[in-house]
């Protein structure tokens, strides 16, 4: 009973949050919430690869891009195609999954630093392709990108429809997807597949010797993670109505990875927390400019440079003070406490410890 009350309270909070935010802080902040939910999905997707299977991926945004461009090309005047979103989202997720396997296949023998370098290169390759595929045939629109993308439509109802209130309808759509993503992550983690991923993260040779086909299971991790990215890419394209290669830079990949690491690799709640924190907190800096203006009469420190400074500082502090992330999984915490004999025995289903 208490559990249901708690659940109801959470549900009420999530349902009322955008309206409260809209009233108190304005629609810009609801939009920030929308983006935060997209980042939650991306971070959860990357968490499958990095947190569960222990494969460092620095080019994750490429899958976001694949999903976004899939949506953009199949629902805009660019090719004159206007497929409904419930068709395009799976296509985008599937395409991203294929790209995930394309990245996974040649990197199966790589680990750690070497894997990071190849994935970083892969991310850049995708972005550069998007940038240059406007000649000889205009496929991606080049640096100009694709615009006039159809908004997401549920039957006759366009999510852009209540004019000026799109941010609210998208909030609920994204919330639904983010919750579904979290649910799928959780189910996967505590399954036969999730255990195989954890085993590979812990010791690949032993995992293979215990009968896990590491090639297939690693490719599956890449594909699953990538399809989450592709899904959120599609939502992003429908929401923004415009995509261009600029949105898919290395910085973005690093940002998503930071969310995973900062929150607590492999711990779903931690990763969600990390994604919300890193997508919402920096926006508070938009008040710093006016504040400086009113205090000193001029801009002393440029808020945008302050943003990177604080971001770097917070990462360093977290690595020094909470190396397992801000909200690590119980197992990871136990491990860092080192006194194994006092381990709490009630945590039976926890195998999400990082390295």
């Amino acid at each position: 009973m208490k559990k249901y009350l708690k659940l109801a309270a959470y549900a009420a909070l999530l349902l009322l949050l955008p309206f409260a935010t809209g009233l108190a802080l304005g629609k810009t902040w609801v939009r920030i919430l929308d983006f935060a939910l997209l980042y939650v999905m991306l971070a959860l997707g990357l968490n499958i690869v990095v947190g569960f299977a222990g494969l460092l991926d620095l080019g994750y945004v490429a899958f976001f891009a694949v999903g976004a461009y899939c949506y953009a090309l199949l629902a805009s005047p660019h090719f004159g195609l206007h497929l409904p979103f419930w068709m395009i989202l799976p296509i985008g997720a599937f395409a991203a999954g294929i790209f995930g396997m394309l990245l996974g296949a040649p990197t199966l023998r790589l680990r750690g630093d070497y894997l990071a370098i190849v994935t970083l290169g892969f991310g850049e390759i995708i972005r550069i392709f998007l940038n240059n595929l406007d000649t000889p045939y205009n496929i991606t629109g080049g640096p100009q990108g694709v615009d006039l993308i159809d908004p997401i439509r549920l039957g006759p109802f366009s999510l852009n429809q209540p004019p000026g209130h799109a941010v609210y309808s998208y909030y609920f759509l994204f919330l639904l997807f983010a919750l579904a993503t979290a649910f799928v992550s959780m189910r996967l983690q505590h399954s036969r597949i999730g255990r195989a991923w954890a085993a590979i993260r812990e010791d690949e040779i032993a995992a293979e010797a215990m009968g896990i086909d590491t090639r297939n299971v690693k490719l599956l991790a890449f594909a699953m993670g990538a399809s989450f990215g592709g899904l959120s890419g599609g939502l992003f394209a429908g929401f923004e109505g415009f995509v261009s290669p600029e949105s898919f830079t290395l910085t973005e990949s690093i940002m998503i990875l930071s969310m995973v690491v900062l929150g607590g690799m492999g711990h779903i709640r931690g990763v969600i927390f990390g994604a919300l924190l890193l997508s919402i907190l920096p926006e508070a800096l938009r008040y710093v400019g006016p504040l400086e203006q009113s205090l000193f009469g001029k801009i002393v420190v440029d808020p945008s440079s302050l943003r990177m400074l604080l971001f770097g500082l917070s990462l360093i502090l977290v690595m020094l003070l909470r190396p397992a992330g801000l909200w690590p999984s119980p197992a990871r915490k136990r491990e860092l406490l080192a006194h194994g004999d006092t381990a709490k025995h009630e945590n039976t289903g926890v195998y999400d410890a990082g390295r």
Partner: protein
């Protein structure tokens, strides 16, 4: 107590006593012939040991039989099925499971989770099943956990089921590795120096465990330096030196073989 998941036919019903037959196995590293022309036969239900001085090729042979290396020449069959060149995961699926000389547990997973991983190749839960959480998947998960619990009990680790593998004592880690390997339902359990670093007390209880496993129908292959343990437990053994088999037979025979004495003690 029998190993829980065993459904194999009793040895008496088997037509063929030979479980594994290796023929003329050779392997070179660079110019060095680590193994050449090694043939051996392991019978069902026996404890077969592989001994030899350092660098004799024991571990190389072991790694070939478990799929880590591919042999350059020769072949080997498990129950008549050609195995040479298969991947380690396929070896495990076919029924050859192993432990490692320097323990390779999944250190940050609990003991029971380590054993549950061993069930991977005997189960089939898919991504879709995991997401939907249908009754078949749930039943399978439950069976996996039950089985792992039984195996922990079998090796005497049930009270440490939820401890992280890294926090177990050395002897317990060795036992956990054996439980994890048993979870794959091996026909042949290959142990790479299971008694390394153990004190006499731990070695004694390991001996009892190995005999129990054999009694329950699993054939054992073991590499061991502890000659006392080997001679006391194995039915037959082979001695390797410089990549060649120099002797094979029951312990008393092998002990008195002049070639073996020479390999171990040198010529006078």
């Amino acid at each position: 107590m029998a190993i829980p998941q065993n459904t194999r036919t009793p040895a008496s019903m088997m037509q063929d006593a030979k479980l594994l037959e290796a023929h003329d196995i050779g392997r070179t590293f660079g110019g060095l012939a680590a193994l050449s022309g090694v043939s051996l036969t392991i019978n069902r239900g026996e404890i077969y040991a592989l001994i030899g001085p350092n660098g004799a090729g024991k571990t190389t042979l072991f790694n070939i039989l478990t799929g880590i290396y591919k042999p350059d020449s020769g072949n080997f069959r498990l129950e008549g099925v050609e195995m040479a060149g298969k991947k380690p995961s396929e070896m495990a699926k076919s029924g050859i499971s192993r432990t490692f000389q320097n323990i390779r547990l999944f250190a940050n997973m609990s003991a029971i989770e380590n054993v549950m991983v061993g069930r991977h190749c005997r189960t089939s839960g898919s991504v879709l099943g995991a997401i939907l959480g249908n009754s078949r998947t749930r039943a399978e998960e439950k069976a996996i956990a039950e089985n792992a619990k039984h195996l922990l009990d079998y090796v005497g680790l049930s009270k440490h089921a939820h401890m992280l593998a890294r926090n177990l004592s050395y002897g317990d880690q060795r036992r956990l590795e054996i439980a994890r390997a048993l979870a794959t339902e091996p026909k042949l359990l290959a142990l790479d120096e299971p008694a390394a670093g153990m004190n006499p007390l731990e070695t004694d209880s390991l001996k009892i465990l190995l005999e129990t496993i054999r009694r329950d129908g699993v054939t054992l292959l073991l590499i061991e330096h502890d000659v006392k343990l080997v001679m006391g437990i194995c039915d037959r053994l082979a001695v390797l030196n410089f990549g060649k088999k120099i002797a094979e037979g029951v312990p008393s025979q092998v002990c008195s073989n002049p070639l073996v004495i020479e390999a171990y003690l040198g010529v006078s």
